[in-house]
Symmetry: C2
Subunit: 252 residues, 2 copies
Amino acid sequence: MTADKGVLPGIKRDVPTAIHVQVSEHIRLRIAGGEWPPHYRLKSEPELAQEFGVSRGTLRRALTTLIEEGLLRQVRGRGTFVTSTTIEPAIAQKLSTLSEDFASQGVVTTTSVRECSLIVPPQPVAALLDVAPGTQVLRLVRVRRTDQGPVALLFNFVRTDLAPGIEEVDFTSASLFGVLEGTYGLKIATARRTFSAEAATADVATALDLNEGGPVQYLQQVTYLADDRPVEYSDVWIHSGRLRVTSLLLRR
Amino acid sequence: MTADKGVLPGIKRDVPTAIHVQVSEHIRLRIAGGEWPPHYRLKSEPELAQEFGVSRGTLRRALTTLIEEGLLRQVRGRGTFVTSTTIEPAIAQKLSTLSEDFASQGVVTTTSVRECSLIVPPQPVAALLDVAPGTQVLRLVRVRRTDQGPVALLFNFVRTDLAPGIEEVDFTSASLFGVLEGTYGLKIATARRTFSAEAATADVATALDLNEGGPVQYLQQVTYLADDRPVEYSDVWIHSGRLRVTSLLLRR
């Protein structure tokens, strides 16, 4: 084991502050200054210990502090990474919903339901849902927030012939896919999602704390059952400063 | 086989225009008016023939015209769909590149190379590429255009220790992944892509024919080799009006 020598300028042995506290503060500054950006993979523990001139035990104590603070995260078999400062649901990669992705990442969100009623949808939505013009569907309008504020404004249109009575569900706590799959026994199979940058309308800007006309991430989705019938259409508006859509992709 | 009866108002038997031409014009208007939006799946041929009050042969002739015009496309086993009016590369779903996705969809693009030189990257890029501060990497700046105009502005940073001499390649015709895999024998394995809506800077706006401060789709990517080393970092700016990022997703 290496002795705790102050190799790196800034790590001082002759001050009352414990060495591991100095190391974690050093790393904290590198992260805050952008030198170690989100998703940066730290060098191995022996390399880092050598670089800081501290023992591996001291280094590990510093890393543990930063992991507990949420600034670093360890991925088994891959190493230690700088945590992203924005939430990054992988909804571009798998057919999960925002609420599922938040839950799996331990992000606490609250949902407020602005509307949950039967309406006649605009004709393009009726066409994509494969319902006759004039047919009523559920319109569900929700805002999802984290402790940072609102992150997404969701408009879902759901075929009620496939989910009769769904307008009675309290979507403050229930998830839409959960209800469709659990309560109605529907087999959700595929979806097509498109992503584009749009200018926020006044309504979207107000709902998401954005400037009107400023950029907002727009996601359009059509969800299909296993028998290929469309069940749900949605328009989702996302606050990019608080939530970045992510995709982890394989070449082959 | 049903006789050609003018059931639908607008399809007329007592005019010189052939029935199939009237039917295709009818469908063209529905698409243009948004009644049949992009990705709308048409009813089955027997149902449509009945709705228009024409024979299946006549209907099929009308559909063939629209397929040839690029307004409709047939997907084997799934039916006939309205074509999207924007290019929709599935780069949120698989680790393909824009050029590969364009090629597979038969979209003709041209590339202009604005810069292809060795530079010292900003420190966050160096960190994500896992190179020491001060190390030179390739910076490749390109604009991709379709016949609609510029669709994407790409800044790639590539590790030259893994691809020595890559700055000599003519990227007007060569693709970056093609060169890394073909010329250098590198095994590109995974990537992490994040998507967000940003306000276009003056440079980005000029390159993509957008308004400064207006919304632009931003994509950040880090690409890794099979041995987990990062090989490439990129910032990509996309004109959402001309190109929508798409993902076809499976629930299980």
